[in-house]
Subunit: 226 residues, 2 copies
């Protein structure tokens, strides 16, 4: 799954260099979209959604600051300003507008690329990709496949949703009550001993990874690595 990148830069040469670099270096990691002026960029920002934006500040039409503001009103996608304006005031204005980083021209493209990866890594932590992992267990929300040590396993519906809920709250102790509310949300007139039974069945499914589901006596259950 490629990350969507938007580069806004009014110098066509630099734009070309950057987009080629991101396309080549990542070997398909990035889908690069570009704009050469502020208004185009604004239109793209409002229409599309991106995983990372690299914005020049001085642009024909709207400025980089305007684009950043527009983007922020919609999402919190990481934003890097790339510009020749190196006075403290400009830089601080950039951060106030809500950017994540500020790179001054001339710059090393490898350096910029490394920054992009670091930023993406941190931003991705907060959003939920479709693959949840914990130790030897991985669950794909899209395909609803669960794997242990990379091998797919058979899993029934209730066990699947219980595992999903546990994984979405990795390391957290979940009480039977909370689990019931989230996994049996519709009919709450079941005994909360059902959680025990389902945990048992889930552990059976997980085989050697069963130990990752810990019982926390008096409080509930939690899933963790190792």
């Amino acid at each position: 799954m490629a990350y969507r990148l938007l580069i806004v830069e009014d110098s066509p040469e630099l734009l070309e260099i950057m987009s080629v670099f991101y396309r080549e270096e990542g070997a398909g990691l990035w889908t690069v979209d570009t704009a050469v002026n502020g208004n185009d960029a604004l239109a793209k920002v409002s229409d599309e959604s991106y995983d990372l934006m690299i914005l020049d500040i001085m642009l024909p039409g709207a400025s980089g600051f305007d684009i950043c503001k527009a983007a922020r009103s919609k999402s919190d996608c990481p934003i890097i300003f790339v510009t020749a304006l190196s006075t403290d005031n400009f830089i601080l204005k950039g951060y106030e507008t809500g950017c994540d980083d500020y790179v001054i021209k001339p710059f090393s493209i490898r350096h910029l690329y490394a920054k992009s990866l670091a930023l993406l890594k941190r931003a991705r932590k907060s959003d939920d990709g479709e693959e949840l992992r914990c130790g030897n267990i991985s669950l794909n929300k899209k395909t609803m496949m669960v794997k242990v040590k990379g091998r797919p396993i058979e899993i029934k519906s209730k066990e699947y949703f219980l595992l999903l809920y546990l994984l979405e709250n990795k390391d957290a102790v979940l009480t039977r009550k909370t689990i019931l509310e989230h996994v049996w949300c519709d009919d709450l007139d079941v005994s909360d001993r059902i959680v025990d039974s389902t945990i048992k069945r889930l552990r059976d499914c997980l085989g050697e990874a069963a130990g990752q589901i810990r019982t926390v006596i008096g409080r509930g259950y939690r899933i963790s690595e190792e």
Copy 2:
């Protein structure tokens, strides 16, 4: 609640400038801890837990890279390298080691400060808030996880709820009676010596942070920072 910042820098003057700036500018936003050499820094990283680290690379003793690696093995706290080494190779090595940003000396401290805030903002998104902290102990009400110096510890149900009650009344002296009413609310026909036993077991769990729970003879117990 203040954010814990670690600055590692072998030039005492620069270290002083930076720590003063963070303390003044944030007006209490930061608790600044410092180290002037690699080995001190390594010790601090393994003992304490921080919300942000600013690391010089060239240091007497262990290098900034070493410190970064050590920190990463334990937490994913944001890390900024600050150094005069500006060759591409060094910068890329920094990012490979897992830093979040790389600032080249000489640098603007306001710029660095703005970066710190941006990074903190992003890092905080991914963690699950509402943490009660007191000295080396932290308790997350949502995940029911208790950490000492940033390391999770095993804790049983009664001990957990006792610790929670103490932390919610940090620095206050709590009598056995009050504690019983709040932690054993349902069955009050227990002897109030049970509080002593549970305090003992809680102290055992807390290990080196056990001393934070003080006995106040004739009155009860209280929790405080050192």
